[in-house]
Symmetry: C2
């Protein structure tokens, strides 16, 4: 049994991580400011005596360091982040505060608590607009195109410098968009929300042809646990995502199939959904596959599980997002 401190533990991905950790018999503290995370995602976890929720904000050093110093985790799993990729330019300090300064706070508190093992959820957005597809971890030095990508890349750099400087063991995952139950953020959520109000039309940002890779939450969990259980040393970075990709239009097709509707689609136009949007994301996951990982769920299932969950939990669609 090991002790896991999970930031963003009440969020979509974090709460799944807590559930799996508890199933495996580990002790878990979820740290979350509940600004986007939801306590209902922890309903099962809370029944387990090995689980505790600590409400706190990663932007406040003492809040995360107090929890780390008291709990003395074996691993810190850092999911807490500002994930509002699209609106970075409206609130340009937000990504810096959550994803860079917040990551420094969690990382330094981890190191000072004596914990040597750190896992970080980064993003394929750190590649900006790469020239190589699928994009490997070792692609040419990227040019950041979004404040979100820049802030996550900065977090990665802090983690590798800490690993080198303080002898920590760390794993950085560069995620594609993750889908599945408890998904409460992103284009399927936006579409589900708007289609619920009016299923006759659907306004789509960009030209609908942006090609993006996704992954089912269960396949993400398998990849993360594979690396943790391999007892990594030093600094390690892995892409994770499905080999397949979907255009926004194909994704809408699956949503409409599931909902049995046929809205008229309108497009804002342009190859990017918004300034800084990557028109294409597809990651080379050969490195993770060499550890034995593969995706089991198709992207069709990922989209349909997501829209299915949102349909069954339509109260979530009322959340401001």
């Amino acid at each position: 049994m090991a002790k896991f401190l999970v930031t963003g533990g009440a969020g979509f991905i974090g709460s799944h991580f807590c559930d799996v950790a508890l199933q495996k018999g580990h002790q878990v503290v979820a740290f979350d400011d509940l600004s986007t995370g939801l306590e209902i995602f922890l309903t099962e976890a809370k029944k387990n005596p090995n689980f505790r929720l600590a409400v706190g904000d990663i932007r406040e050093y003492s809040q995360i360091s107090d929890v780390a110093n008291n709990f003395k985790p074996d691993w810190v799993i850092h999911f807490a982040a500002n994930a509002d990729v699209r609106r970075g330019l409206e609130r340009p300090r937000r990504d810096l505060e959550y994803n860079t300064i917040g990551t420094w706070n969690v990382l330094d508190a981890t190191q000072k608590s004596g914990c040597k093992n750190f896992l970080f959820s980064s993003t394929g957005s750190v590649y900006g607009e790469p020239e190589v597809f699928p994009t490997p971890e070792t692609c040419p030095f990227p040019i950041q195109t979004s404040l979100y990508g820049a802030s996550k890349a900065a977090g990665e750099g802090l983690i590798s410098a800490y690993s080198m400087g303080f002898g920590m063991n760390s794993v950085v995952f560069r995620f594609v968009s993750i889908m599945g139950p408890r998904y409460t953020h992103g284009h399927v959520f936006d579409f589900a929300k708007r289609l619920r109000q009016d299923s006759s039309t659907l306004a789509i940002l960009g030209n609908g042809k942006q090609l993006k890779s996704y992954l089912h939450i269960e396949d993400l969990m398998k990849g993360i646990w594979l690396t943790i259980e391999s007892k990594p040393t030093g600094f390690n970075v892995y892409n994770i995502g499905h080999d397949d990709a979907l255009t926004v239009d194909q994704s809408v097709n699956y949503i409409c199939e599931y909902l049995k509707i046929n809205p008229k689609r309108t497009y804002s136009g342009g190859e990017r959904g918004w300034v800084g949007d990557s028109p294409r994301i597809q990651l080379d996951t050969s490195k993770l596959k060499k550890l034995g990982w593969s995706a089991k769920h198709s992207l069709e299932k990922a989209v349909k599980d997501t829209i299915g969950y949102l349909t069954e939990n339509s109260h979530l669609l009322n959340r401001i997002d």
Copy 2:
């Protein structure tokens, strides 16, 4: 005539930039907290009515934004930084505060003041321990090995995201170690200081064989002005450094030749001077050369001009560093 706001304008590199800008007939405000910058470096500049020194700290947003909003610069040249590469691990928040958050403050204040042109002094340390020498700007996605390199890489990412998001024009220079008059930081300074106290022995960090590239301040200024005067658009990144490199031992040879001494050398050992030190730095500068740049001064001259300046200004050696 254009208006230049120069952060770190009282420092080694910044004060040279101010001098050249004034010689070219431009209007200059130097912004500096005088924590490591020295007003004596601005003795000539202060005689010029086109020059003003604004004392302030880039870590305080309002201090830099007030100056930017009042002066309305055409260019912001951002040199202010924590350059204490070696002691990053002793004060691990320092690089983040100066080089990442400070850079965000300067960048956002620039953008909000209506200024569209930004130049940033980054470092070859962003390459960590690269596998390719000389290292081009497009080398594989680097792994950060020092908090200094990580904090500067984070600054670069912010600048490219702002350039993309707000239509700014920016130039990032990845510097090697710069030498010449007003040099007050780094190994030649440390050696000069210790040899002045005792010229019979010299303790050297590492094995003396770390191979590093350097550049004379005059060659740096030529490169920087070449890019400014080419009216760059979008985001641009350039390596700058001499094609030659010196081992620490060779550098000591030049210092001893100049001082006409022959100290007994002792070595702390290991291929790195300290944890996170890059054992080898040599940058591919083909991209800048295509603009017409080349280095005129040899590294022997760079080292000897530096030790010559420190000998003539030995009061500087009493500064705590």
